[in-house]
């Protein structure tokens, strides 16, 4: 049965479902008081958990568990930049933000996206980490990322690490800000992949880079299909095409197509869920009109259906961050999201109806749904 891994501003919580996904029991907190940005289970062994964490006052690190969270140990060499030559200012990892297991063909390989927007790789299941120099020291890194300038309230970040399941050397990453980038050689070299995406905050109408992707997902069974929720809209791309299509234009005008997360149906590459937010005026980043809803498409974004049954009807100013939505692999698919106001919402019917399964948690950074090994 699914287990939700919840990373919050004050630690980690687990929510365990009963067999029909109607009743949930909460366990935790683990690492109470830590900023728990992302907690992820390795789908290759279904036992190894990695946690990206820091506290408000201590440096960033990665914690590991090989017994599903019963015991934890710290990475012996967490993600860190190389020491700068004497007299030069070196980069410092502020926090580890995104954790991504590598391909099935590379057991033990993980990637970590950090702030400033840099990429790290582990080949020993998260115990030791090395910089991916092809990205971090790319001659264009400073240009693409504005030298890692603070582009978001929590600092500029690298996120949405996607590994092509057919080819472990084919990688996609996203930098906020900077855009989406692709590597065909295991991270040795990169190129922007942003054509078709708006960058309304940029005076150049169609820049090659400088975009603000919020979340990019590659479909696991149709790895040529990419979806993107970015700062300006919802996009879809079918490789080998190079130009993203703005499928968010098909959202209701009064709702718009701005948000943070996007989640894909595990079997149907034409189906996805988003959680729109208010991106007007000064960018409240809350549910438009205080009426929260998930929107679902089953036709590759040609149409979207509002899914709000069970959610508050008014005065619910919810924010769902880019890592705070998840789907399980059941049929029908379970959809989950956590809010910055500490609520967990679940749907066991692909978004048709919603139930609040936890409340009064800390600010939710991330939600992952997993099926641990027995």
């Amino acid at each position: 049965m699914p287990v939700l891994l919840i990373g919050t501003k004050k630690g980690v919580f687990f929510l365990q479902a009963d067999p029909d996904r109607r009743s949930w029991s909460i366990e935790g907190p683990h690492f109470l008081g830590h900023l728990a940005y992302h907690v992820v289970l390795d789908p290759r062994d279904r036992r190894t958990l990695l946690l990206a964490a820091k506290t408000g006052h201590l440096g960033p690190t990665v914690f590991r568990s090989t017994d599903l969270g019963k015991t934890w140990s710290e990475a012996s060499s967490p993600p860190a930049f190389a020491r700068a030559p004497e007299g030069e200012k070196g980069r410092v990892v502020d926090h580890v933000f995104w954790l991504q297991p590598g391909a099935e063909s590379e057991p033990g390989v993980w990637y970590a996206g950090v702030s400033p927007p840099a990429l790290f790789r582990s080949e020993d299941a998260g115990n030791t980490w090395l910089p991916v120099a092809g990205w971090n020291d790319h001659p264009m890194w400073g240009t693409w990322t504005e030298d890692g300038a603070d582009g978001t309230p929590d600092g500029s970040i690298l996120h949405s690490v996607n590994v092509d399941p057919r080819d472990a050397r084919h990688l996609y990453i996203a930098a906020s800000g900077g855009g989406v980038f692709e590597s065909l050689d295991g991270g040795d070299d990169w190129r922007p992949l942003n054509r078709g995406c708006a960058a309304d905050f940029n005076p150049e109408p169609n820049p090659d880079y400088g975009h603000d992707p919020h979340c990019v997902r590659l479909h696991p069974l149709a790895p040529d299909v990419l979806w993107q929720q970015n700062h300006c809209g919802i996009y879809r791309l079918e490789r080998p095409a190079e130009e993203w299509q703005r499928v968010g234009d098909n959202m209701p005008r009064e709702v718009g197509d701005i948000g943070f997360p996007i989640e894909l149906h595990p079997r149907d590459p034409d189906a996805a869920w988003v959680f729109p937010m208010d991106g007007t005026d000064v960018w409240p980043r809350t549910s438009p009109g205080g009426r929260p809803a998930v929107y679902r498409t089953r036709d590759a974004g040609q149409s979207w259906r509002r899914c709000d049954q069970g959610l508050p009807r008014e005065h619910a100013w919810l924010t769902v961050l880019r890592q705070a939505m998840a789907v399980d692999a059941h049929d029908p698919v379970g959809v989950y999201f956590g809010t910055t106001t500490g609520q967990l919402w679940a749907s066991s019917d692909e978004g048709d109806t919603w139930t609040r399964i936890a409340d009064n948690l800390p600010h939710v950074y991330s939600v992952e749904v997993v099926e641990p090994a027995p």
Binding site: H57, G59, E74, K89, V92
Partner: protein, 86 residues
């Protein structure tokens, strides 16, 4: 010499508030502290050898900003956390 450890770092010292470490400079002392309590140094000193913003190190009650400050066996080293935020 004795090193005073703040509560946020005591998970590395088996909850001990006072631990022993050796060195002739703060840099050497922290290397020895990390050898005895693996992982503790990186939580307070970044990869460019900068003291992290909310970490304060005192020698004989005087705050230091430089890891090359010399220390001796009778010196008292305190590591403090400037707790803030919500």
């Amino acid at each position: 010499m004795r090193v005073s450890i703040p509560t946020p770092l005591r998970s590395y010292t088996g909850e001990a508030a006072l631990v022993e470490a050796e060195g002739t400079t703060i840099r050497e002392l922290l290397v020895d502290l990390d050898r005895r309590h693996p992982g503790i140094r990186f939580r307070m000193i970044d990869e460019q050898d900068g003291i992290r913003p909310h970490v304060k190190i005192f020698v004989n009650r005087e705050q230091i900003a430089d890891l090359e400050v010399r220390v001796g066996p009778r010196d008292e080293v305190q590591i403090l956390q400037a707790l803030s935020g919500g």
